[in-house]
């Protein structure tokens, strides 16, 4: 249904979210919160406002830098967002409830980091597909419930033994991957995805909110200080963090998987590729479509890449 409103040359993930809404699958929602954190998303705000019937739609104006001025602007923007929520849903949001939410979310982040630690082992105690699905489920489950489940999971997985030897240890970098199929292809071809730099992976949870500071200040700071997304000015910082992760998780290669038309990632990708290669890693850069068209060709290239690394080592 989105085809009636969306051009061919736009992000297929944004298109898919919008399509799901038009089909009525999100009719249970009371609102949609957008951000200008990329050109696709910023412009999609117009389509959501004009073509969906959600009662509440709000855009959070997100800075692209992390200066003192940007911090102040973003804090004030979060105050405006809070007030807008309070008005729309006639519910006050107290500092106390923000602190409580911060605590619960931080716990989730800390637990996810523990999950990721299990991937540093050789062999990794979790497959890349499992790890991705764990993070994806965090985004969809009430956090208290997810924390409880993560506790159980850590207990079970830590006791895993007699695992088969790892395949080629890989880091996957990119934007959104909300379907584990891509990683399944990588792991079926003899790779083991043990680390990631994804919006739906480590970048989602890696950094905590300072629970001692004033809540909205701390939240504003966390979102600007976190591992940067390529839509920010801080690309160099991101490259460093990815390089560190590659080292810490002891990977042999990296696959950069960028959704087509994700401009900011497409500008960063050649630079990140060069950085990773300069540290001796093999890197494959691929673009993919959310609808998984052209998947056979991707599979062939992934298989050839993994064979190449195996041949070298």
């Amino acid at each position: 249904m989105a085809d009636a409103y969306c051009p061919d040359n736009m992000c297929s993930f944004c298109r898919s979210c919008f399509d799901t809404t038009l089909k009525g699958d999100y009719d249970y929602l009371d609102g949609y919160v957008a951000s200008n954190s990329c050109d696709n998303r910023g412009k999609m705000y117009d389509l959501w406002r004009h073509h969906t019937k959600l009662p509440y739609i709000h855009l959070i104006n997100t800075p692209h830098t992390n200066t003192e001025k940007a911090q102040k602007f973003f804090h004030d923007e979060l105050v405006r967002f809070k007030e807008s929520l309070e008005k729309a849903f006639r519910t006050p949001i107290s500092d106390q409830s923000l602190r409580k939410a911060t605590r619960v979310y931080n716990e989730n982040r800390a637990l996810l980091k523990k999950v990721y630690d299990l991937r540093r082992k050789d062999p990794s105690l979790l497959s890349g597909v499992e790890a991705l699905e764990i993070v994806l489920s965090s985004a969809l489950t009430p956090k208290e419930e997810h924390n409880r489940l993560l506790g159980q999971l850590l207990h079970e997985v830590s006791g895993r033994s007699n695992l088969p030897k790892n395949g080629v240890r890989l880091l996957v970098s990119g934007s959104v991957i909300d379907d584990a199929e891509l990683l399944r292809i990588v792991e079926a071809a003899g790779g083991s995805v043990v680390a990631d730099d994804l919006c739906t992976g480590s970048r989602y949870f890696w950094d905590l909110v300072d629970s001692d500071a004033k809540p909205l200040h701390a939240i504003a700071r966390r979102y600007l200080d976190k591992v940067p997304c390529p839509f920010t000015y801080q690309s160099e910082d991101r490259f460093k963090r990815v390089m560190d992760m590659a080292k810490r998780y002891d990977v042999e290669g990296a696959i950069i998987l960028v959704l087509k038309f994700c401009d900011t990632h497409m500008f960063d990708a050649p630079l990140l590729k060069a950085e990773l290669e300069s540290s001796g890693l093999s890197v494959l850069y691929l673009e993919w479509e959310h609808a998984m068209t052209g998947i056979a060709q991707l599979r062939t290239r992934i298989e050839a890449f993994i064979e190449m690394i195996k041949g070298v080592s």
Binding site: N9, M10, G42, F267, P270
Partner: protein, 411 residues
């Protein structure tokens, strides 16, 4: 009659490339040789700030359009693609990056190497990401004016203006640091006075195009907009626009149109195919003329020199690329009404999300409110591999035929 014969070119814009564009690049190269500071600047950046501290602005976007007009843009895009920059990225970006990746035989000798680069989030993220790549490659610093997205589409919010001004204050420090000079507010006011004059003349020029028949079409407008975009606060800009306005006024008085038999008055949204400006002659040959471009309307803005920084915020923040759709819709609705428009051409741009997403909203709104039809066509500003001329011409001819039937019905 051939397309070019249909069209009456203006005196003022004759030889524009040789007289102004070539000179602009030659002057910039000369400035570089004389060790005067040169900056690469992205559009929607408040260039008056640079002029006030005697930094020479060079515009990569303008350079990409030059490369496209000279038919070398695809070669440069391919050079960027060889370095893994995706073919789906903005063709301006690929073209300019290609020009710094060691390609030879560049138009106007390429752009002089910058002392620093200046970008803004005020049009798109692509701007500053591309400048970031250039900054890294050229080992020159990049300053980013990080400005808010215009969420109202009408009156700006006070906090948005205040944040813009705070960003300008950061820019002042950056410019002083880079040039070793002191930024003088009085000098900025002088530049703004000229820039304001430039804007007013440019808007008068647009007003002249309301006349039936219209005295100027898109080909001349897309050349002449150069001054508004690149060097607004200069005597040269004021002088050029004064001459252009006078020529148009004379045409209006004598009822001389840019084409002899004006039948369809159209708006052209966004950018042209710089590699094929003859497309406008082709439109003329069908009896159609572009009476306004949204691109021409977006750059002018009044400057109140009693508030030099705030007025720059008010001039540059409300750019429709950095705003909710309402700002672009309101502009198009106003132009349709005041310029007696029969139809709107809405070109998408393969590498540009800002210009491609939401076209249906524009098309539907203009039709619902004013009963005026629009045509969405898929083009690209500089990469002709993403443009199918035969297909676009078929669409345009069908659109014109539809307009012709409407005119007959109304008559």
């Amino acid at each position: 009659m051939s397309a070019t014969e249909t069209m009456r070119r203006l005196q003022t814009t004759r030889g524009f490339y040789g007289n102004y564009i070539k000179k602009f690049y030659a002057d910039a190269h000369k400035a570089k040789e004389e060790k005067r500071p040169v900056a690469w600047v992205a559009s929607t950046f408040p260039v008056e700030m640079l002029q006030a501290i005697d930094v020479i602005p060079v515009w990569p976007e303008n350079y990409a359009s030059v490369c496209a007009a000279r038919q070398v843009s695809v070669r440069l895009c391919e050079a960027a693609e060889r370095e893994n920059f995706s073919r789906d990225l903005c063709s301006y970006a690929r073209c300019v990056l290609g020009s710094i990746f060691g390609e030879k035989d560049l138009p106007e000798g390429g752009m002089p190497k910058p002392d620093f680069l200046l970008a803004s989030t005020g049009a798109c993220d692509t701007h500053f990401k591309w400048f970031q790549v250039a900054s890294r490659r050229l080992k020159r610093p990049l300053f980013l004016l990080d400005i808010p997205y215009d969420t109202t589409g009408s009156e700006l919010e006070g906090y948005q203006v205040r944040h813009y001004v705070a960003q300008l204050e950061g820019l002042v420090s950056f410019l002083e640091e880079q040039t070793g000079r002191k930024f003088e507010m009085n000098r900025l006011k002088e530049v703004e006075r000229l820039s304001d004059r430039t804007s007013k003349l440019w808007l008068e020029i647009q007003d002249c195009r309301k006349a039936i028949p219209t005295p100027m079409g898109a080909r001349d407008a897309f050349s002449a907009v150069f001054f508004m975009l690149c060097v607004p606060g200069t005597e040269m800009a004021v002088e050029f626009y004064r001459r252009l306005r006078d020529e148009l006024k004379e045409r209006v008085e004598n009822k001389i149109g840019v084409i002899e038999d004006e039948r369809y008055r159209l708006i052209w949204d966004n950018l042209p195919m710089w590699f094929n400006l003859r497309f406008f002659d082709y439109l003329n040959s069908l009896g159609a003329v572009i009476v306004a471009e949204t691109f021409s309307h977006v750059w002018a803005g009044n400057l109140d020199i009693s508030k030099p920084l705030e007025s720059l915020a008010r001039k540059y923040l409300p750019n429709f690329a950095n705003a909710v759709a309402e700002r672009r819709i309101d502009l198009i609705l106003r132009v349709v009404r005041e310029w007696s428009v029969d139809g709107v051409i809405l070109p998408t741009n393969w590498g540009c999300r800002m210009m491609s997403i939401g076209m249906t909203i524009l098309k539907n709104t203009v039709h619902e409110r004013l009963g005026v039809p629009s045509l969405i066509i898929d083009v690209d500003s500089s990469d002709w591999r993403s443009y199918n001329e035969a297909h676009v011409k078929t669409q345009v001819e069908a659109f014109i035929e539809m307009l012709s039937k409407r005119n007959q019905r109304e008559a």
